[in-house]
């Protein structure tokens, strides 16, 4: 098992290198110069040139990429152009907020998604199933930013029961968590339903029924446990989407997370912050995928036996 985890961790290195290469190249070819945003309208061309030199923006693509990789190998993600703080410090400030938000959204989407999925599967083609699956389709189709504003209008403006934006306590997390959790909940619900439908037609379910087990027991201990593998995969992938989806949602709800930091950095062409932020999200995504793979072993004894 440990060998497997070690191998998977090593495999993450080329993935991270690929991510860096893509982000670095994209930022390099994107029109715009960080110096223009940093200096504002009053700057003289001399000031601009001096700053460009200071920030190392005058080097060639290869020089700049090489320097970035060498620094990265030393654990240095660079310095934020605007605040002059190390990028790592900015990530440490913002990442926990994004993680909290993503965590809440996952909990929410799992709770809603699993419940809807199980009931829909058990009561296939019933009115509940039809309504739940229509809602799941709508949930998947709604754009985050639109849904976010809609929730804000309803809960903050009309009913005045939740704060519109900010990040001052758990009440501030509810609306953004619902916003980014809805589409995941929809995906989890659909996956749970189809996976459960496959399982409840198996012979061992019939056997369990014949043994006189209650429906609830059969669903939880026999059906759900066997239906979980694809659901866990979906949740893992959704977690990555939640971190990524938070980019827009964090801006709408003014959550000081890594997503909002990246959006602001992209606008200002603050290259080190964008690269550091994307790298962090990619790393988390990879680690969550690894965790999901390990989780399979706990859920499915057949997979566990392969690791031995």
């Amino acid at each position: 098992m440990l060998k497997y985890i070690g191998r998977r961790l090593l495999m993450m290195i080329p993935v991270m290198l690929g991510v860096i290469l893509i982000v670095f190249t994209l930022m390099y070819i994107t029109p715009g110069d960080p110096v223009d945003t940093l200096l504002g309208d009053d700057a003289t061309p001399e000031m601009a040139e001096q700053l460009r030199e200071e920030l190392g923006l005058n080097g060639t693509y290869i020089e700049r990429l090489g320097k970035y990789l060498v620094n990265l190998a030393h654990g240095d993600l660079g310095i934020c152009y605007s605040t002059k703080q190390p990028v790592m410090d900015r990530i440490i400030q913002t990442f926990p907020n994004s993680l909290k938000l993503a965590g809440c959204s996952v909990l929410l989407s799992v709770a809603i998604g699993l419940t809807l999925g199980i009931v829909s599967a058990v009561k296939q083609y019933s009115l509940f199933d039809n309504i739940a699956m229509t809602l799941a389709m709508i949930g998947n189709a709604m754009p985050n930013f639109w849904q976010g504003l809609l929730l804000m209008l309803l809960f903050a403006l009309h009913w005045k029961i939740l704060p519109a934006s900010g990040f001052d306590g758990w009440t501030y997390m509810i609306l953004p968590a619902i916003t980014i959790g809805t589409s995941s909940a929809a995906a989890v619900a659909r996956m749970t339903r189809s996976s459960m439908l496959e399982v409840i037609r198996q012979d061992y379910i019939t056997t369990a029924e014949a043994k006189g087990q209650t429906e609830l027991k059969i669903i939880i201990f026999h059906a759900l446990k066997n239906a979980l593998i694809p659901v866990i995969t979906t949740i893992g992938i959704q977690f990555g989407h939640l971190l990524g989806g938070a980019v827009l949602t964090e801006s709408i709800f003014a959550v000081p997370g890594v997503g909002k930091m990246m959006v602001d950095a992209i606008k200002a062409r603050n290259y080190p912050v964008v690269q550091g932020g994307v790298l962090m999200v990619a790393l988390t995504f990879s680690l969550v995928n690894l965790a999901v793979d390990i989780l399979y072993a706990f859920v499915d004894p057949r997979i566990r036996s392969q690791y031995k």
Partner: protein, 543 residues
Amino acid sequence: MKKRFLSLSLALCMVLTACGSGGEEKQTTDGSSPAPSETSSESASAGVEKGPVQTSDTEKVSSKDTLVVAFDREPATLDPLGNNVTVKRMIEGSIFDTLLEFNENMEPSPCLAESWEQIDELTWKFNLRKDVKFHNGDPLTSKDVKFSFLRVGNGTLGNDAATQFDPNGYETPDDYTFILKTLEPWAFTEAQVCSEALSIVPEKVVTEMGDDAFGRAPVGSGAYKFVSWTAGDNITVERNDEYWRDKSILKTIKFRIITEAASRTIDLESGGVDITLGLPTTDADRIEENPDTQLIVSTGATDRYIAFNCQKDVFKDKRVRQALNYATDKESIRVVCYGENTSETMDSVVPSTLPGHISSLKQYDYDIEKAKELLKEAGMENGFEVEFMYLANSTNNMLAELLQQMWSQVGVTLVLKPTESGALTTSLNKGEQELCCAGTSYSLFEAGAGLYNMFHTERMYSGSARSNLSSPEVDKVLDEINITSDAEKRAELVGQAQELIHEESPFIYIAFTKNIIGAGSKVRGFVPTPTAMYDFRTVYFVE
């Protein structure tokens, strides 16, 4: 920017607040003394079109003592050394003081310097107040002033506020006298030292902390002390109880950073925010109609225009620029894009709020036939294609589509190029655009200084010069304005400059935009200003 002229009302507010503390309810008006906001709005009525709600007889001062102000972006630093973004200046204005400040007529008036004089055409002497202390308790002396000016002069971060001053000319004959020399005779010295970019910082603290750390946790002498900065979320300051003049009524101000305009408006309406600066024009009606909010509109000092890049072949001939000016129904664009009541007709490049503005220029009224005639004279009667570059947002998109439709009538095909902010600034600074949509704020409140940045050949391809006009006649007048210290004469020259620039037609005037502020219905004592820099010392809440 601070408003000394509010001192009387502030004193009254303080008395009233003091009386109202401890849960005791106190009416704000007793017949003999004016209510806080009554005095405030009277003294600052110039340019205010839709003032803040007045305190009525029945209202009681609330014990709420935290004001939440929403901004659209986060400043990179709070060090005056950094570039001059409005948000940064506003927060700095609350933490730091300047030698002089603008009064209600937008004239330089005493602040840290209680008096000043011009000794010769290059030299200025400032006599500092002796009762000013920094937030750490150290007295503010002329050495701190010299240090502050020198570091701005040596700075590389886009703050050009001290470039006209001689770095070897700063003198401190004693602790409370500061002398500065300009490199050349310069008419805007007094206005320039009002700028937050030349805020006075404590030499000892900056030297100990270093520039970067100081920018994240600044120490000043202003009405508020820095408390905390939560990256991406808020910057909090609290009342400086040792302030050398009238203190703030409220204890705490939280400057919240909410980048999305729609979220800012909803947050104001739902009560999460007390004041929203830079409200989108499209939300103005909603805020005005909502009983929980109030709309405050004041005349600003901002132009909105379409700029021809005069260095591009297609626009080198001024007849083409004039023709397209005639082909544009400017008033329709203004009303649709900037709102009938939240903007006013732009009739010159200098805003109507500034000294020297002239309203006698013969306008390029919407006239398709005249436009066609001029294009024919310029040999462009067969039409041509032009690329229009602008910041991609809903207002500009609307403007671009209207313009595209209008110009199609004279055979000009407008290719729209909505661009995201980072890429746009770089393209404009390189002069790559043929045509763009832009705006200028006259932050020094001196038309001459603004015109110089926009139209002098020296400033071509820099931040404010979007037309890249190069005209020896215009340059000559602008140079003369720079060295004319007599305000009346300067205003006259500004008039001449406007005529010359108008004839060159580098811009299509669209609108003078007003400052639109949204506030909660319980907010009182807020004083709008044309410069859009606000002092929150007089603000308080009613129940």
